[in-house]
Amino acid sequence: MKSGRFWAWVVFVLGAAYFFIPLIATIEFSLRMRRGVYSLDAYKVVLGDSQFQATFMFSVIVAVFTILLGVLIVVPTAYWIRLRMPQIRPIVEFITLLPLVIPAIVIVFGYIRMYGSNSPLPFLATNTGANALLVIGYATLALPYMYRAVDTGLRTIDVRTLTEAAQILGAGWGTIISRVILPNVLIAVLSGAFLTFAIVIGEFTMASLLNRPAFGPYLQNLVANRAYEPAALSIIAFVITWGCMSLIQILSRFAPKSANRPN
Protein backbone atom coordinates (compact mmCIF):
# COMPACT_ATOMS: atom_id res chain seq x y z
CA MET A 1 0.00 0.00 0.00
CA LYS A 2 2.71 2.45 1.11
CA SER A 3 4.96 1.35 -1.75
CA GLY A 4 2.07 1.97 -4.22
CA ARG A 5 1.59 5.46 -2.86
CA PHE A 6 5.33 6.19 -3.14
CA TRP A 7 5.41 5.22 -6.82
CA ALA A 8 2.25 7.19 -7.46
CA TRP A 9 4.03 10.27 -6.09
CA VAL A 10 7.12 9.52 -8.20
CA VAL A 11 4.98 9.36 -11.36
CA PHE A 12 3.15 12.54 -10.34
CA VAL A 13 6.41 14.44 -9.71
CA LEU A 14 7.91 13.27 -13.03
CA GLY A 15 4.74 14.27 -14.90
CA ALA A 16 4.64 17.67 -13.20
CA ALA A 17 8.36 18.21 -13.95
CA TYR A 18 7.81 17.30 -17.62
CA PHE A 19 5.05 19.92 -17.78
CA PHE A 20 6.42 22.69 -15.54
CA ILE A 21 10.20 22.72 -16.24
CA PRO A 22 9.88 23.87 -19.89
CA LEU A 23 7.21 26.35 -18.83
CA ILE A 24 9.35 27.81 -16.04
CA ALA A 25 12.38 27.86 -18.35
CA THR A 26 10.39 29.75 -21.01
CA ILE A 27 9.10 32.27 -18.44
CA GLU A 28 12.62 32.73 -17.08
CA PHE A 29 14.05 33.19 -20.57
CA SER A 30 11.31 35.67 -21.55
CA LEU A 31 12.33 37.88 -18.61
CA ARG A 32 16.05 38.06 -19.55
CA MET A 33 15.87 40.52 -22.44
CA ARG A 34 17.66 43.22 -20.43
CA ARG A 35 21.21 42.08 -19.73
CA GLY A 36 21.87 41.09 -16.10
CA VAL A 37 18.39 41.73 -14.64
CA TYR A 38 14.89 40.28 -14.99
CA SER A 39 12.48 42.61 -16.80
CA LEU A 40 9.21 42.62 -18.73
CA ASP A 41 10.91 44.26 -21.76
CA ALA A 42 10.12 41.35 -24.11
CA TYR A 43 6.42 41.58 -23.16
CA LYS A 44 6.43 45.36 -23.64
CA VAL A 45 7.98 44.96 -27.10
CA VAL A 46 5.51 42.29 -28.11
CA LEU A 47 2.40 44.01 -26.75
CA GLY A 48 3.52 47.39 -28.17
CA ASP A 49 4.05 45.97 -31.66
CA SER A 50 1.30 47.16 -34.00
CA GLN A 51 1.60 43.95 -36.00
CA PHE A 52 0.96 41.93 -32.85
CA GLN A 53 -2.24 43.89 -32.20
CA ALA A 54 -3.41 43.68 -35.83
CA THR A 55 -2.74 39.96 -36.25
CA PHE A 56 -4.15 39.09 -32.84
CA MET A 57 -7.33 41.07 -33.51
CA PHE A 58 -7.63 39.44 -36.94
CA SER A 59 -7.37 35.97 -35.38
CA VAL A 60 -9.85 36.87 -32.63
CA ILE A 61 -12.42 38.03 -35.23
CA VAL A 62 -11.81 34.91 -37.35
CA ALA A 63 -12.22 32.79 -34.19
CA VAL A 64 -15.57 34.45 -33.37
CA PHE A 65 -16.90 33.79 -36.88
CA THR A 66 -15.56 30.23 -36.75
CA ILE A 67 -17.39 29.62 -33.47
CA LEU A 68 -20.63 31.04 -34.88
CA LEU A 69 -20.35 28.89 -38.01
CA GLY A 70 -19.49 25.82 -35.90
CA VAL A 71 -22.49 26.35 -33.60
CA LEU A 72 -24.83 26.90 -36.56
CA ILE A 73 -23.66 23.66 -38.20
CA VAL A 74 -23.07 21.42 -35.20
CA VAL A 75 -25.94 22.17 -32.80
CA PRO A 76 -28.83 21.49 -35.22
CA THR A 77 -26.95 18.49 -36.70
CA ALA A 78 -26.16 16.83 -33.36
CA TYR A 79 -29.69 17.62 -32.12
CA TRP A 80 -31.38 16.16 -35.20
CA ILE A 81 -29.23 13.04 -35.09
CA ARG A 82 -30.13 12.44 -31.43
CA LEU A 83 -33.81 13.14 -32.09
CA ARG A 84 -34.58 11.51 -35.41
CA MET A 85 -31.60 9.66 -36.88
CA PRO A 86 -29.62 7.93 -34.11
CA GLN A 87 -28.75 5.16 -36.57
CA ILE A 88 -26.43 7.45 -38.58
CA ARG A 89 -24.59 8.71 -35.49
CA PRO A 90 -21.50 6.47 -36.04
CA ILE A 91 -21.18 7.77 -39.61
CA VAL A 92 -21.40 11.41 -38.52
CA GLU A 93 -18.92 10.77 -35.70
CA PHE A 94 -16.50 9.29 -38.22
CA ILE A 95 -16.90 12.31 -40.53
CA THR A 96 -16.30 14.73 -37.66
CA LEU A 97 -13.09 12.87 -36.79
CA LEU A 98 -11.63 13.19 -40.29
CA PRO A 99 -9.96 16.58 -39.63
CA LEU A 100 -7.83 14.83 -37.00
CA VAL A 101 -6.40 12.39 -39.54
CA ILE A 102 -6.30 14.61 -42.65
CA PRO A 103 -3.51 17.18 -42.21
CA ALA A 104 -4.46 20.84 -42.48
CA ILE A 105 -1.97 21.23 -45.33
CA VAL A 106 -3.91 18.68 -47.42
CA ILE A 107 -7.20 20.49 -46.74
CA VAL A 108 -5.74 23.88 -47.63
CA PHE A 109 -4.17 22.66 -50.88
CA GLY A 110 -7.56 21.22 -51.74
CA TYR A 111 -9.13 24.63 -51.06
CA ILE A 112 -6.56 26.42 -53.21
CA ARG A 113 -7.26 24.08 -56.14
CA MET A 114 -11.05 24.14 -55.65
CA TYR A 115 -11.60 27.83 -54.87
CA GLY A 116 -8.84 29.59 -56.85
CA SER A 117 -9.61 32.67 -58.95
CA ASN A 118 -10.38 30.50 -62.02
CA SER A 119 -12.83 28.20 -60.25
CA PRO A 120 -16.65 28.56 -60.35
CA LEU A 121 -16.46 29.50 -56.65
CA PRO A 122 -13.51 31.93 -56.61
CA PHE A 123 -13.22 32.45 -52.84
CA LEU A 124 -9.53 33.29 -53.20
CA ALA A 125 -10.09 36.08 -55.72
CA THR A 126 -10.91 38.60 -52.97
CA ASN A 127 -9.70 39.21 -49.41
CA THR A 128 -13.22 38.76 -48.02
CA GLY A 129 -13.56 35.49 -49.88
CA ALA A 130 -10.19 34.27 -48.60
CA ASN A 131 -11.16 35.24 -45.04
CA ALA A 132 -14.47 33.36 -45.44
CA LEU A 133 -12.55 30.32 -46.69
CA LEU A 134 -10.24 30.56 -43.67
CA VAL A 135 -13.29 30.60 -41.36
CA ILE A 136 -14.73 27.56 -43.17
CA GLY A 137 -11.38 25.77 -42.91
CA TYR A 138 -11.08 26.50 -39.20
CA ALA A 139 -14.69 25.34 -38.62
CA THR A 140 -13.64 22.05 -40.25
CA LEU A 141 -10.52 21.76 -38.08
CA ALA A 142 -12.56 22.45 -34.93
CA LEU A 143 -15.35 20.02 -35.90
CA PRO A 144 -14.12 17.04 -33.80
CA TYR A 145 -13.99 19.19 -30.65
CA MET A 146 -17.21 21.13 -31.25
CA TYR A 147 -19.26 18.06 -32.23
CA ARG A 148 -18.07 16.00 -29.28
CA ALA A 149 -18.68 18.82 -26.80
CA VAL A 150 -22.23 19.45 -28.08
CA ASP A 151 -23.07 15.75 -28.35
CA THR A 152 -21.90 15.19 -24.77
CA GLY A 153 -24.09 18.08 -23.66
CA LEU A 154 -27.10 16.64 -25.49
CA ARG A 155 -26.50 13.29 -23.81
CA THR A 156 -27.16 14.87 -20.38
CA ILE A 157 -30.71 15.92 -21.31
CA ASP A 158 -33.70 13.92 -22.48
CA VAL A 159 -33.76 15.54 -25.94
CA ARG A 160 -36.81 13.69 -27.25
CA THR A 161 -39.10 14.27 -24.28
CA LEU A 162 -38.09 17.93 -23.92
CA THR A 163 -38.71 18.45 -27.64
CA GLU A 164 -42.12 16.79 -27.43
CA ALA A 165 -43.02 18.76 -24.30
CA ALA A 166 -42.19 22.00 -26.11
CA GLN A 167 -44.00 20.91 -29.29
CA ILE A 168 -47.22 20.03 -27.48
CA LEU A 169 -47.11 23.49 -25.84
CA GLY A 170 -47.19 25.03 -29.31
CA ALA A 171 -43.49 25.65 -29.97
CA GLY A 172 -42.01 25.41 -33.48
CA TRP A 173 -38.48 24.21 -34.32
CA GLY A 174 -36.88 27.66 -33.94
CA THR A 175 -38.32 28.12 -30.45
CA ILE A 176 -37.42 24.58 -29.43
CA ILE A 177 -33.77 24.95 -30.45
CA SER A 178 -33.28 28.50 -29.18
CA ARG A 179 -35.28 28.34 -25.92
CA VAL A 180 -35.15 24.71 -24.86
CA ILE A 181 -32.21 22.83 -26.40
CA LEU A 182 -29.50 25.51 -26.74
CA PRO A 183 -29.82 26.90 -23.17
CA ASN A 184 -29.53 23.38 -21.78
CA VAL A 185 -26.36 22.59 -23.74
CA LEU A 186 -24.90 26.09 -23.51
CA ILE A 187 -22.00 25.04 -21.31
CA ALA A 188 -21.12 22.26 -23.74
CA VAL A 189 -21.33 24.73 -26.64
CA LEU A 190 -19.07 27.14 -24.74
CA SER A 191 -16.56 24.35 -24.10
CA GLY A 192 -16.48 23.66 -27.83
CA ALA A 193 -16.26 27.40 -28.51
CA PHE A 194 -13.23 27.90 -26.26
CA LEU A 195 -11.45 24.90 -27.76
CA THR A 196 -12.17 26.36 -31.20
CA PHE A 197 -10.79 29.71 -30.03
CA ALA A 198 -7.59 28.07 -28.78
CA ILE A 199 -7.11 26.23 -32.10
CA VAL A 200 -7.76 29.31 -34.25
CA ILE A 201 -5.49 31.66 -32.27
CA GLY A 202 -2.38 29.54 -32.79
CA GLU A 203 -3.09 27.98 -36.21
CA PHE A 204 -0.32 28.49 -38.77
CA THR A 205 -0.70 26.23 -41.81
CA MET A 206 -4.02 27.41 -43.23
CA ALA A 207 -3.48 31.08 -42.46
CA SER A 208 -0.01 31.03 -43.97
CA LEU A 209 -0.90 29.17 -47.18
CA LEU A 210 -4.03 31.29 -47.73
CA ASN A 211 -1.82 34.32 -47.07
CA ARG A 212 -3.96 35.76 -44.27
CA PRO A 213 -2.55 38.25 -41.70
CA ALA A 214 -3.25 35.97 -38.75
CA PHE A 215 -1.54 35.54 -35.39
CA GLY A 216 -0.01 32.12 -36.23
CA PRO A 217 2.16 33.33 -39.14
CA TYR A 218 3.14 36.42 -37.09
CA LEU A 219 4.27 34.13 -34.27
CA GLN A 220 6.31 32.00 -36.68
CA ASN A 221 7.92 35.08 -38.22
CA LEU A 222 8.88 36.38 -34.78
CA VAL A 223 10.38 33.03 -33.75
CA ALA A 224 12.54 33.03 -36.87
CA ASN A 225 13.94 36.53 -36.30
CA ARG A 226 13.94 37.32 -32.56
CA ALA A 227 15.25 35.68 -29.37
CA TYR A 228 13.28 36.77 -26.27
CA GLU A 229 9.98 37.97 -27.79
CA PRO A 230 8.86 34.47 -28.98
CA ALA A 231 9.23 33.20 -25.42
CA ALA A 232 7.10 36.11 -24.16
CA LEU A 233 4.53 35.42 -26.88
CA SER A 234 4.39 31.73 -25.95
CA ILE A 235 3.63 32.67 -22.37
CA ILE A 236 0.94 35.15 -23.53
CA ALA A 237 -0.63 32.43 -25.73
CA PHE A 238 -0.42 30.00 -22.81
CA VAL A 239 -2.20 32.46 -20.49
CA ILE A 240 -4.94 33.03 -23.11
CA THR A 241 -5.49 29.27 -23.47
CA TRP A 242 -5.57 28.69 -19.72
CA GLY A 243 -7.89 31.67 -19.33
CA CYS A 244 -10.27 29.99 -21.80
CA MET A 245 -10.12 26.70 -19.90
CA SER A 246 -10.75 28.46 -16.58
CA LEU A 247 -13.75 30.23 -18.09
CA ILE A 248 -15.20 26.81 -19.09
CA GLN A 249 -14.80 25.66 -15.50
CA ILE A 250 -16.40 28.80 -14.07
CA LEU A 251 -19.30 28.78 -16.53
CA SER A 252 -20.01 25.08 -15.92
CA ARG A 253 -21.03 26.01 -12.37
CA PHE A 254 -23.94 27.95 -13.81
CA ALA A 255 -25.15 25.05 -15.96
CA PRO A 256 -28.84 24.21 -15.55
CA LYS A 257 -29.17 21.12 -13.40
CA SER A 258 -30.73 18.24 -15.25
CA ALA A 259 -34.05 17.52 -13.61
CA ASN A 260 -35.96 16.02 -16.47
CA ARG A 261 -35.27 12.45 -15.46
CA PRO A 262 -37.38 10.77 -12.80
CA ASN A 263 -35.69 10.45 -9.40
Partner: protein, 354 residues
Protein backbone atom coordinates in the same frame (compact mmCIF):
# COMPACT_ATOMS: atom_id res chain seq x y z
CA UNK B 1 -73.37 8.88 -25.98
CA UNK B 2 -74.15 12.35 -27.31
CA UNK B 3 -71.78 13.90 -29.85
CA UNK B 4 -68.31 12.61 -28.83
CA UNK B 5 -65.64 15.18 -28.09
CA UNK B 6 -62.81 12.89 -29.17
CA UNK B 7 -63.39 10.17 -31.71
CA UNK B 8 -60.67 7.66 -32.60
CA UNK B 9 -61.88 5.81 -35.67
CA UNK B 10 -60.41 2.57 -37.05
CA UNK B 11 -56.89 3.66 -36.19
CA UNK B 12 -54.01 1.38 -37.09
CA UNK B 13 -50.30 1.94 -36.57
CA UNK B 14 -47.50 -0.15 -38.02
CA UNK B 15 -43.75 0.24 -37.63
CA UNK B 16 -42.34 -1.59 -40.64
CA UNK B 17 -43.84 -5.06 -40.64
CA UNK B 18 -44.95 -4.84 -37.01
CA UNK B 19 -48.49 -3.66 -36.31
CA UNK B 20 -48.69 -2.22 -32.81
CA UNK B 21 -52.24 -0.82 -32.94
CA UNK B 22 -54.99 -2.51 -34.93
CA UNK B 23 -58.45 -1.13 -35.72
CA UNK B 24 -58.70 0.91 -32.52
CA UNK B 25 -62.02 2.68 -31.99
CA UNK B 26 -63.06 4.90 -29.10
CA UNK B 27 -65.46 7.79 -28.56
CA UNK B 28 -64.85 10.05 -25.57
CA UNK B 29 -67.55 12.39 -24.27
CA UNK B 30 -66.77 16.01 -23.31
CA UNK B 31 -65.28 16.20 -19.81
CA UNK B 32 -64.83 12.44 -19.58
CA UNK B 33 -61.81 10.80 -17.93
CA UNK B 34 -60.85 7.68 -19.89
CA UNK B 35 -57.93 5.41 -18.98
CA UNK B 36 -55.99 3.17 -21.35
CA UNK B 37 -55.03 0.18 -19.26
CA UNK B 38 -52.84 -2.67 -20.41
CA UNK B 39 -49.49 -4.40 -20.07
CA UNK B 40 -46.26 -3.08 -21.61
CA UNK B 41 -46.29 -3.24 -25.40
CA UNK B 42 -50.08 -3.36 -25.73
CA UNK B 43 -50.15 -0.14 -27.79
CA UNK B 44 -51.72 2.20 -25.24
CA UNK B 45 -48.92 4.80 -25.39
CA UNK B 46 -48.84 4.59 -29.19
CA UNK B 47 -52.55 5.49 -29.35
CA UNK B 48 -51.92 8.40 -26.97
CA UNK B 49 -48.97 9.58 -29.06
CA UNK B 50 -51.15 9.46 -32.18
CA UNK B 51 -53.73 11.64 -30.44
CA UNK B 52 -50.90 14.02 -29.44
CA UNK B 53 -49.55 14.06 -33.01
CA UNK B 54 -46.14 12.52 -32.25
CA UNK B 55 -47.00 9.48 -34.36
CA UNK B 56 -49.04 9.46 -37.55
CA UNK B 57 -51.64 6.68 -37.89
CA UNK B 58 -51.05 4.20 -40.74
CA UNK B 59 -54.83 4.17 -41.22
CA UNK B 60 -57.95 5.64 -39.62
CA UNK B 61 -58.65 9.10 -38.29
CA UNK B 62 -58.75 11.11 -35.09
CA UNK B 63 -61.47 13.73 -34.70
CA UNK B 64 -61.65 16.37 -31.95
CA UNK B 65 -64.77 18.56 -31.68
CA UNK B 66 -65.82 17.46 -35.16
CA UNK B 67 -62.47 18.48 -36.71
CA UNK B 68 -60.17 15.88 -38.25
CA UNK B 69 -56.77 16.40 -36.59
CA UNK B 70 -55.10 13.22 -37.91
CA UNK B 71 -52.49 15.05 -40.02
CA UNK B 72 -52.04 18.14 -37.82
CA UNK B 73 -48.65 18.74 -36.19
CA UNK B 74 -48.48 18.47 -32.37
CA UNK B 75 -48.08 22.24 -31.98
CA UNK B 76 -51.29 22.87 -33.95
CA UNK B 77 -53.59 20.58 -31.93
CA UNK B 78 -54.16 22.56 -28.71
CA UNK B 79 -53.62 19.44 -26.63
CA UNK B 80 -51.91 19.35 -23.21
CA UNK B 81 -49.70 16.47 -22.20
CA UNK B 82 -47.98 15.26 -19.04
CA UNK B 83 -45.07 12.88 -19.50
CA UNK B 84 -43.85 10.05 -17.31
CA UNK B 85 -40.41 11.70 -17.08
CA UNK B 86 -41.94 15.11 -16.09
CA UNK B 87 -40.09 16.83 -18.99
CA UNK B 88 -39.81 20.16 -17.21
CA UNK B 89 -37.34 22.48 -18.90
CA UNK B 90 -34.29 22.44 -16.58
CA UNK B 91 -33.15 25.94 -17.57
CA UNK B 92 -36.47 27.59 -16.67
CA UNK B 93 -38.00 28.35 -13.29
CA UNK B 94 -41.33 26.86 -12.25
CA UNK B 95 -43.17 30.05 -13.29
CA UNK B 96 -41.37 30.13 -16.66
CA UNK B 97 -42.14 26.45 -17.22
CA UNK B 98 -45.85 26.99 -16.55
CA UNK B 99 -45.89 30.13 -18.68
CA UNK B 100 -43.98 28.53 -21.60
CA UNK B 101 -47.03 27.61 -23.66
CA UNK B 102 -48.64 30.99 -22.98
CA UNK B 103 -45.50 32.85 -24.09
CA UNK B 104 -45.28 30.74 -27.25
CA UNK B 105 -48.91 31.69 -27.94
CA UNK B 106 -47.94 35.37 -27.69
CA UNK B 107 -49.96 36.20 -24.57
CA UNK B 108 -49.06 39.55 -22.87
CA UNK B 109 -46.75 39.28 -19.86
CA UNK B 110 -49.37 40.50 -17.33
CA UNK B 111 -51.84 37.87 -18.52
CA UNK B 112 -49.13 35.17 -18.34
CA UNK B 113 -48.21 36.17 -14.77
CA UNK B 114 -51.85 36.08 -13.72
CA UNK B 115 -52.48 32.66 -15.31
CA UNK B 116 -49.25 31.23 -13.81
CA UNK B 117 -50.32 32.43 -10.34
CA UNK B 118 -53.76 30.86 -10.89
CA UNK B 119 -52.16 27.54 -11.92
CA UNK B 120 -49.80 27.54 -8.93
CA UNK B 121 -52.86 28.06 -6.73
CA UNK B 122 -54.69 25.13 -8.34
CA UNK B 123 -51.77 22.75 -7.76
CA UNK B 124 -51.23 24.21 -4.27
CA UNK B 125 -47.60 25.24 -4.84
CA UNK B 126 -47.86 29.06 -4.86
CA UNK B 127 -44.49 29.52 -3.11
CA UNK B 128 -42.52 27.56 -5.74
CA UNK B 129 -42.66 30.08 -8.62
CA UNK B 130 -38.96 30.98 -8.55
CA UNK B 131 -37.55 27.51 -7.98
CA UNK B 132 -35.83 25.44 -10.64
CA UNK B 133 -36.98 21.88 -11.43
CA UNK B 134 -33.91 20.31 -9.77
CA UNK B 135 -34.96 21.96 -6.48
CA UNK B 136 -38.30 20.09 -6.43
CA UNK B 137 -39.32 16.57 -5.43
CA UNK B 138 -40.70 14.14 -8.04
CA UNK B 139 -44.29 14.75 -6.92
CA UNK B 140 -43.86 18.52 -7.04
CA UNK B 141 -42.27 18.32 -10.50
CA UNK B 142 -45.19 16.29 -11.81
CA UNK B 143 -47.70 18.80 -10.36
CA UNK B 144 -45.80 21.60 -12.12
CA UNK B 145 -45.87 19.53 -15.33
CA UNK B 146 -49.64 19.21 -14.91
CA UNK B 147 -50.00 22.97 -14.37
CA UNK B 148 -47.85 23.63 -17.45
CA UNK B 149 -50.03 21.31 -19.54
CA UNK B 150 -53.34 22.90 -18.52
CA UNK B 151 -52.18 26.54 -18.41
CA UNK B 152 -52.86 27.19 -22.14
CA UNK B 153 -56.43 25.82 -21.64
CA UNK B 154 -56.05 22.84 -23.99
CA UNK B 155 -59.09 21.09 -25.46
CA UNK B 156 -57.76 17.73 -24.39
CA UNK B 157 -55.39 16.56 -21.66
CA UNK B 158 -53.18 13.52 -22.22
CA UNK B 159 -51.45 11.85 -19.28
CA UNK B 160 -48.74 9.34 -20.21
CA UNK B 161 -48.13 7.21 -17.10
CA UNK B 162 -47.60 10.38 -15.04
CA UNK B 163 -47.43 8.56 -11.72
CA UNK B 164 -45.19 5.61 -12.49
CA UNK B 165 -41.94 7.35 -11.51
CA UNK B 166 -43.29 8.31 -8.06
CA UNK B 167 -43.34 6.44 -4.78
CA UNK B 168 -46.53 4.70 -3.62
CA UNK B 169 -47.77 7.35 -1.17
CA UNK B 170 -47.25 10.26 -3.57
CA UNK B 171 -48.91 8.29 -6.38
CA UNK B 172 -52.13 7.92 -4.41
CA UNK B 173 -52.32 11.55 -3.34
CA UNK B 174 -51.37 12.85 -6.78
CA UNK B 175 -53.86 10.67 -8.65
CA UNK B 176 -56.63 12.02 -6.43
CA UNK B 177 -55.36 15.54 -7.06
CA UNK B 178 -55.28 14.97 -10.84
CA UNK B 179 -58.86 13.69 -10.78
CA UNK B 180 -60.07 16.57 -8.64
CA UNK B 181 -58.40 19.18 -10.91
CA UNK B 182 -59.78 17.43 -14.00
CA UNK B 183 -63.30 17.48 -12.59
CA UNK B 184 -62.97 21.09 -11.52
CA UNK B 185 -61.81 22.22 -14.98
CA UNK B 186 -64.07 19.78 -16.83
CA UNK B 187 -61.26 18.95 -19.25
CA UNK B 188 -61.55 15.79 -21.37
CA UNK B 189 -58.68 13.54 -20.32
CA UNK B 190 -56.95 10.39 -21.54
CA UNK B 191 -54.81 8.66 -18.94
CA UNK B 192 -52.38 5.89 -19.84
CA UNK B 193 -51.40 3.44 -17.12
CA UNK B 194 -50.44 -0.17 -16.55
CA UNK B 195 -51.63 0.04 -12.94
CA UNK B 196 -55.16 -1.35 -12.64
CA UNK B 197 -55.76 0.21 -9.22
CA UNK B 198 -54.98 3.66 -10.63
CA UNK B 199 -57.29 3.12 -13.59
CA UNK B 200 -60.14 1.68 -11.49
CA UNK B 201 -59.96 4.44 -8.89
CA UNK B 202 -60.04 7.58 -11.03
CA UNK B 203 -61.60 6.77 -14.41
CA UNK B 204 -65.07 7.36 -15.78
CA UNK B 205 -64.34 4.61 -18.29
CA UNK B 206 -61.44 2.27 -18.96
CA UNK B 207 -60.25 0.86 -22.28
CA UNK B 208 -58.40 -2.37 -21.50
CA UNK B 209 -55.87 -2.95 -24.27
CA UNK B 210 -54.04 -6.06 -25.38
CA UNK B 211 -52.10 -6.80 -28.55
CA UNK B 212 -52.88 -3.40 -30.08
CA UNK B 213 -56.65 -3.74 -29.66
CA UNK B 214 -59.21 -2.55 -27.13
CA UNK B 215 -60.34 -5.78 -25.46
CA UNK B 216 -63.10 -4.02 -23.53
CA UNK B 217 -64.26 -0.47 -22.96
CA UNK B 218 -66.46 0.15 -19.95
CA UNK B 219 -66.86 1.71 -16.53
CA UNK B 220 -64.52 0.45 -13.79
CA UNK B 221 -67.50 -1.44 -12.30
CA UNK B 222 -68.22 -3.19 -15.60
CA UNK B 223 -64.58 -3.96 -16.30
CA UNK B 224 -64.07 -5.50 -12.88
CA UNK B 225 -67.37 -7.32 -12.46
CA UNK B 226 -68.20 -8.24 -16.03
CA UNK B 227 -64.94 -8.76 -17.90
CA UNK B 228 -65.66 -9.42 -21.56
CA UNK B 229 -62.63 -11.60 -22.25
CA UNK B 230 -60.30 -13.97 -20.46
CA UNK B 231 -57.49 -11.40 -20.77
CA UNK B 232 -59.52 -8.63 -19.09
CA UNK B 233 -60.60 -10.97 -16.30
CA UNK B 234 -57.01 -12.03 -15.66
CA UNK B 235 -55.43 -8.60 -16.02
CA UNK B 236 -57.86 -6.63 -13.86
CA UNK B 237 -57.91 -7.76 -10.25
CA UNK B 238 -57.03 -11.14 -8.74
CA UNK B 239 -58.93 -14.06 -10.14
CA UNK B 240 -59.46 -17.73 -9.31
CA UNK B 241 -59.85 -19.84 -12.43
CA UNK B 242 -61.57 -23.23 -12.08
CA UNK B 243 -62.11 -25.79 -14.78
CA UNK B 244 -65.70 -26.99 -15.21
CA UNK B 245 -67.52 -29.40 -17.50
CA UNK B 246 -70.97 -28.65 -18.93
CA UNK B 247 -73.23 -31.51 -17.88
CA UNK B 248 -76.54 -30.11 -19.12
CA UNK B 249 -76.34 -27.12 -21.44
CA UNK B 250 -80.12 -26.57 -21.51
CA UNK B 251 -80.41 -26.05 -17.75
CA UNK B 252 -76.92 -24.47 -17.39
CA UNK B 253 -75.50 -27.22 -15.18
CA UNK B 254 -71.72 -27.32 -14.93
CA UNK B 255 -69.68 -29.72 -12.82
CA UNK B 256 -66.82 -28.16 -10.85
CA UNK B 257 -64.71 -30.67 -8.96
CA UNK B 258 -67.41 -32.98 -7.55
CA UNK B 259 -70.05 -30.25 -7.20
CA UNK B 260 -72.67 -29.18 -9.70
CA UNK B 261 -73.10 -25.44 -10.28
CA UNK B 262 -75.99 -23.74 -12.03
CA UNK B 263 -74.88 -21.12 -14.58
CA UNK B 264 -78.12 -20.66 -16.48
CA UNK B 265 -77.93 -17.93 -19.10
CA UNK B 266 -74.12 -17.64 -18.87
CA UNK B 267 -73.02 -20.57 -21.01
CA UNK B 268 -73.14 -18.55 -24.22
CA UNK B 269 -73.66 -21.39 -26.70
CA UNK B 270 -71.58 -24.04 -24.92
CA UNK B 271 -72.74 -27.60 -25.46
CA UNK B 272 -73.03 -30.47 -23.01
CA UNK B 273 -69.62 -32.07 -22.56
CA UNK B 274 -67.67 -28.81 -23.24
CA UNK B 275 -64.93 -27.80 -20.81
CA UNK B 276 -65.18 -24.24 -19.49
CA UNK B 277 -62.90 -21.85 -17.61
CA UNK B 278 -64.84 -20.37 -14.70
CA UNK B 279 -63.59 -17.42 -12.68
CA UNK B 280 -64.30 -16.10 -9.20
CA UNK B 281 -62.98 -12.98 -7.48
CA UNK B 282 -61.45 -13.68 -4.02
CA UNK B 283 -63.92 -11.34 -2.34
CA UNK B 284 -66.88 -13.37 -3.69
CA UNK B 285 -65.76 -16.47 -1.79
CA UNK B 286 -66.28 -17.11 1.94
CA UNK B 287 -64.53 -19.53 4.22
CA UNK B 288 -67.18 -21.94 5.54
CA UNK B 289 -70.76 -22.29 4.38
CA UNK B 290 -72.45 -18.90 4.42
CA UNK B 291 -76.17 -18.14 4.15
CA UNK B 292 -77.06 -16.82 0.68
CA UNK B 293 -74.29 -18.82 -0.99
CA UNK B 294 -75.75 -21.59 -3.12
CA UNK B 295 -72.52 -23.45 -3.89
CA UNK B 296 -69.88 -24.93 -1.64
CA UNK B 297 -66.68 -26.89 -2.23
CA UNK B 298 -64.47 -28.78 0.23
CA UNK B 299 -60.70 -28.63 0.38
CA UNK B 300 -57.65 -28.05 2.56
CA UNK B 301 -55.97 -24.82 3.67
CA UNK B 302 -52.76 -24.52 1.60
CA UNK B 303 -51.43 -21.06 2.51
CA UNK B 304 -52.32 -18.21 4.87
CA UNK B 305 -51.01 -14.66 4.26
CA UNK B 306 -51.63 -12.05 6.94
CA UNK B 307 -51.95 -8.64 5.17
CA UNK B 308 -53.07 -6.52 8.13
CA UNK B 309 -56.75 -5.68 7.71
CA UNK B 310 -57.22 -8.66 5.41
CA UNK B 311 -56.10 -12.30 5.55
CA UNK B 312 -55.60 -13.96 2.17
CA UNK B 313 -56.18 -17.71 2.35
CA UNK B 314 -55.38 -20.22 -0.40
CA UNK B 315 -57.45 -23.39 -0.33
CA UNK B 316 -56.55 -26.49 -2.36
CA UNK B 317 -59.63 -28.05 -4.01
CA UNK B 318 -58.98 -31.09 -6.15
CA UNK B 319 -56.33 -29.98 -8.63
CA UNK B 320 -57.18 -26.26 -8.23
CA UNK B 321 -56.10 -23.66 -5.69
CA UNK B 322 -58.60 -20.97 -4.76
CA UNK B 323 -57.66 -17.64 -3.11
CA UNK B 324 -60.10 -15.87 -0.85
CA UNK B 325 -59.96 -12.85 1.44
CA UNK B 326 -61.35 -12.64 4.96
CA UNK B 327 -61.33 -9.58 7.17
CA UNK B 328 -58.97 -9.74 10.12
CA UNK B 329 -60.85 -10.12 13.37
CA UNK B 330 -58.79 -10.00 16.55
CA UNK B 331 -61.28 -12.33 18.27
CA UNK B 332 -60.94 -15.08 15.66
CA UNK B 333 -57.59 -16.78 15.05
CA UNK B 334 -56.56 -17.15 11.39
CA UNK B 335 -56.98 -20.54 9.66
CA UNK B 336 -54.17 -23.05 10.02
CA UNK B 337 -52.36 -24.61 7.05
CA UNK B 338 -53.40 -28.26 6.57
CA UNK B 339 -56.87 -27.86 8.12
CA UNK B 340 -59.91 -29.17 6.24
CA UNK B 341 -62.10 -26.28 5.11
CA UNK B 342 -65.22 -25.58 3.09
CA UNK B 343 -65.59 -22.57 0.84
CA UNK B 344 -68.86 -21.18 -0.42
CA UNK B 345 -69.98 -18.68 -3.03
CA UNK B 346 -72.98 -17.62 -5.03
CA UNK B 347 -73.04 -19.18 -8.49
CA UNK B 348 -74.24 -15.78 -9.74
CA UNK B 349 -70.74 -14.38 -8.98
CA UNK B 350 -69.10 -16.97 -11.19
CA UNK B 351 -67.82 -15.66 -14.54
CA UNK B 352 -67.56 -17.82 -17.62
CA UNK B 353 -64.38 -16.85 -19.49
CA UNK B 354 -64.45 -16.89 -23.27
Amino acid sequence: MAEPFLSIQHVRKSFGATTVVEDFNLDVAPGEFVSFLGPSGCGKTTVLRMVAGFEEPSAGKIVVSGKDITRLKPNQRNVGMVFQAYALFPNLTVAQNIGFGLKVAGMPKAAIDSRVAEMLGIIRLPQMADRYPYQLSGGQQQRIALARAIAPKPKLLLLDEPLSALDAKVRISLREEIRSIQKKLGITTIFVTHDQEEALSISDRIAVMYGGKAEQVGTPFEIYNRPATKFVANFVGTLNVLEGKVTDAASGKVQVNTQEVSLKGKLNGSKSGDTLSLALRPEAISLGRQPGHDTSLSGEIAEVHFLGSVIRVRVGIGGNTVSLDTFNNSATPPPVVGEKADISFSSGDMLVLH
